[in-house]
Amino acid sequence: MLNLVVPLIAGILLGYFLRNKKRFDLGKITFGVIIALIFSLGFSIGSNDELLGSLLTVGLNAVVILFFALLFSVVFVEAARRAVRME
């Protein structure tokens, strides 16, 4: 866990202190990193034969999880809006 939280916090702090320097083109870096990351995620999925076999179940599970996540989110927000009388 720590090896993931440390770079995140380090990035926030460094960005905060460098905010007055010249602009950074983060879009291109992020794009490159995301492509590399998604490629390697795909690679670990593709090289795992058991996982490929269970992909149909994974898809079904995904739909169920997404349904409940969205349902409870809407219910909670609606309840909170009534509680604090947000517009």
Binding site: A10, L14, L41, S44, G46, S47, L51, I65, F76, V77
Partner: protein, 202 residues
């Protein structure tokens, strides 16, 4: 952006499959461990950097006040509870399903991160759930906005500060823009922490 990501995913799956089944050119761990870990750490660093550098985002949130936090807090709580309930229903690891739904639509993060913490199977689940969340937000927005103006922002989760912000601004009106942005901002900020925290609780 989505088409490049899909292409990268498909190329990755195909090369992983061929490398595994038709003579290994390289060891699997080179890509699935080293490249994966390196780019995940770099992504978290760059995302953190982008938050730190963005003075507008912080100023907008300050202006809206504490009340705006109610919105993302409920979205996060509702999503995680949804993950818990569906995890029980499906009979899978409930911590993994909570971590998956705590991705809040940010599939480029949730897929790899959940994959590292819970294994590749849940990584794939994390990717699909959150990818569908973003896709559903965009495709159903003309219907969900009729239920109430805030429903698309709830659906969008962490994506409402960038990818789904243009559609939300168009359908929900410009007043919803600040709420959407702030909600997406807060959710993007807490998503990596929530996912790792859930993994620690297991």
């Amino acid at each position: 952006m989505i088409k490049y990501i899909l292409a990268a995913l498909i190329c990755g799956v195909a090369s992983g499959y061929f490398n595994n089944n038709f003579g290994s050119l390289i060891a699997n761990s080179w890509i699935s461990d080293y490249l994966f870990d390196f780019s995940l750490i770099l992504l978290l660093f760059v995302m953190g950097f982008a938050f730190g550098v963005n003075r507008e985002a912080v100023a907008k949130m300050r202006k809206a006040g504490l009340r705006i936090l109610v919105f993302p807090f409920c979205v996060a709580l509702g999503s995680i509870l949804g993950g818990l309930v569906s995890g029980f229903m499906l009979g899978i690891d409930v911590f993994a399903s909570m971590a998956v739904s705590a991705g809040l639509g940010w599939y480029t993060l949730a897929g790899p991160l959940v994959g590292q913490l819970f294994g590749a199977e849940f990584g794939a689940l994390g990717f699909i759930v959150n990818f569908l969340r973003e896709l559903l937000t965009i495709t159903t927005i003309s219907l969900t906005v009729r239920v109430d103006w805030y429903v698309p922002i709830v659906f969008g989760g962490a994506t409402t500060m960038d990818t789904t912000l243009p559609v939300i601004a168009r359908y929900c009106g410009s007043e919803a823009l600040i709420t959407a942005f702030a909600s997406g901002f807060v959710l993007s900020l807490i998503a990596p922490f929530t996912i790792t925290t859930i993994a620690t609780l297991r």
